[in-house]
Symmetry: C2
Subunit: 243 residues, 2 copies
Amino acid sequence: MKIDPNSTADLSAQIAGAIRDAIISGDLIVDERLPSEAELAEQFQVSRATVREGLKRLAAQSLIRTQRGATGGAFVNRLSFEDAYSQQITTSTLLLSMNAVSFDTACEARYALERACAPLSAARRSADQLATMRAEIFRQGQPGLTDEAFCASDVAFHRALVDGAHNPVLSYQLAGSVEAMQPLMNMITFTARDRATILALHARIADAIEAGAGEDAVTGLTALEEETRKLAADVFARRATKR
Amino acid sequence: MKIDPNSTADLSAQIAGAIRDAIISGDLIVDERLPSEAELAEQFQVSRATVREGLKRLAAQSLIRTQRGATGGAFVNRLSFEDAYSQQITTSTLLLSMNAVSFDTACEARYALERACAPLSAARRSADQLATMRAEIFRQGQPGLTDEAFCASDVAFHRALVDGAHNPVLSYQLAGSVEAMQPLMNMITFTARDRATILALHARIADAIEAGAGEDAVTGLTALEEETRKLAADVFARRATKR
DNA sequence: AAAAATCATTTGTCAGACATTTAAAAGTCT
DNA sequence: AGACTTTTAAATGTCTGACAAATGATTTTT
């Protein structure tokens, strides 16, 4: 692991890169302890402050964790699905909000991916996941529910559907698509009539999942996508004329 | 933006969190300049070193960029799809390698997601993307190609397929699934016969995409998934008996 | 043997200094 | 006046040295 003091890049970035490469290549394995900051400083011929900045960069990506004390230090962290989920959600959310991604584009991606999960979920979902879907449908029918709560329940419903595929890689990939849409969905005002329509589609999808009918779940999701896009188009059209 | 000096979390992590929240909530907008490190240090009542560690955390996630000089400072960064891609690929790769995700699980996720793209790609792919697919197929037929080069070409083929959907959100989500499988694929030795089979399937998929026949592309992908899993199973079985 | 005190190691934080980069301001020449 | 050069000020990047706080290991005491 070497760094170039004459490079244009910051030393701390180079150090982070060198250690990251060592982790990716397998030179450093999970739970292995890195040299102490003082040792790293000597190895890289930089100050401890610079080493620390590099380590913080890695910590921000959950690649290492640090512990204080006698036997403490920086350890290679096992990147958990949990950690990856939340990173994925943050990134996806910012990506959508900062790049003026249209509602249609985000929606298309999300439902395309969800349809990919549907057949697997229909075949494998646990009773618990089905129960969650039913419970969220019930919640969505409650009067007096705020639009935000309705959206949150919608996300919970879809996450249960995705998790039903029992493929953690799929769940991880989908987490971003589903959750990142929430801020966009929150811009929509759902009338009682809208909610009833969505609720019926959710029920249809849950029925298909319960029956193990993947194809029906897919068509249900397609109908839901259409409905969602129509709703959004209405909202945006109304807003455009109002102003 | 406030931090709690008595919290268990590091001050630098709290500072990063506070600024990150401000970015996500929209309090800080793209290209806006943060206060200088000295000012932030005073605002948060910490030293400049601590502020800097916090800022490096954000830089690691591409949330800010820094510039030196008179009009320099830290600026809120527009998270580009490019940046998001590479983060996604790093995270996915580590997630697979560190969590003993089985080949089958990763493979299932990847092909499920790719099938979600196929109909869109068949409808919208540009001539250029189709040309890339054809070119990669041609490359894969060259004799003397190393296994690594074959895999790299495979990835290029599939990326063209995915990008053909012309949905940047989909491309972003898929980048991780497709690229992260490469290390796993590299463990496989492809015989001439294996390559011919894969090549034929690639051609079949490209034909379907060219003809705008989304359904055919989907079945082609399913066949390719089956083939890939069979190959991998063979390799792992052979390895198990050898040792 | 158990509990308490001490110790050594390591990260977390701080203060102050200097180097480097950069754009703007001031100065100089034609 | 305009073009070029020099100076200056502001900001990040890096270094040094120090102390605080946490924590496991060791030693001492009871």
